[in-house]
């Protein structure tokens, strides 16, 4: 995502990251109990993972997160007057790049005075599942996060999730 942001920021896109509740809390990064702690976790996220995107910290109760849906890694593209142009239940840089290129084409059409009207589209994405990376990161969160993750895998074996 960071590479995509670097490549598309000069083309006029802004990349915002809403910092939400901890998805896999553990001893090293427990759940947030104060705004100060949440901000501290957001700083760790920025500094340890080298995040250059603009980070917006949601309030402790997750007001913004509730408004957009409570999934852990959603992605929206939002245009003028806050119109939602694209959304995904999981951030997928490949799919997002396709949409950003499409938006650039739209801008060119607008500049050339081509008449266009909105049409509604959906598509099913396929995101890469890099479990090794996920598991390595969860180990860093603490032993409890690892135990919860293992229990989660067992649950998903019994109840396959509907979504990505």
């Amino acid at each position: 995502m960071e590479a995509l942001a670097d490549a598309y920021r000069p083309k006029g896109f802004e990349f915002l990251f809403v910092f939400t509740r901890e998805a896999h809390p553990g001893e090293n990064f427990p759940r947030h109990t104060s705004m100060e702690q949440k901000i501290e976790h957001a700083r760790a996220f920025r500094d340890r993972l080298g995040v250059q995107r603009t980070i917006l910290v949601d309030d402790l109760e997750g007001t913004v997160h509730h408004a957009f849906g409570l999934l852990p890694d959603m992605c929206y593209v939002i245009g003028r007057r806050n119109r939602i142009l694209y959304r995904a239940d999981w951030t997928n840089a490949d799919a997002l790049q396709m949409i950003l290129d499409y938006q650039l084409t739209r801008s060119e059409q607008r500049l050339s005075n081509m008449k266009v009207g909105p049409n509604y589209c959906e598509f099913l994405g396929f995101r890469p599942r890099v479990w090794d990376k996920v598991v390595a990161h969860i180990h860093g969160n603490g032993p409890q996060a690892v135990e919860d993750w293992k229990a989660g895998l067992e649950y998903w074996n019994q109840h396959p999730p509907s979504h990505g």
């Binding site: 980070i55 849906g69 929206y76 990161h137 509907s162």
Partner: protein
């Protein structure tokens, strides 16, 4: 199984195929927003909720949030007035 896989279009609920509507028992829920332990299952109901609202073409709420780099309170429209915005959600863990 991926959603939609192995099902015909006729069997899909109006929005898309999600197991939540087919479950005989409701999926587990988190007791509070900042849950202490990750639990698989609650995301099922959250995903079904995600499917039902904030659809493409509608207007996103003009929320306020704290900008980490300077502690300023900013609004979504501060950015969408100038650029097309990619809005990602996530946490450290």
């Amino acid at each position: 199984m991926l959603y939609g896989e192995g099902r015909t279009g006729e069997q899909l609920p109006p929005v898309a195929g999600y197991r939540f509507d087919l479950m005989t028992e409701p999926p587990p829920e988190y007791p509070e927003y900042n849950y202490p332990n990750f639990l698989a299952g609650p995301d099922e109901a959250e995903w079904a909720d995600f499917q039902r609202r904030m659809r493409v073409g509608t207007t996103a709420p003009d929320f306020e949030a704290l900008r980490l780099k300077d502690g300023a309170t900013v609004r979504l429209s501060d950015y969408t007035g100038e650029s097309t915005v990619v809005l990602e959600f996530g946490s450290y863990t």
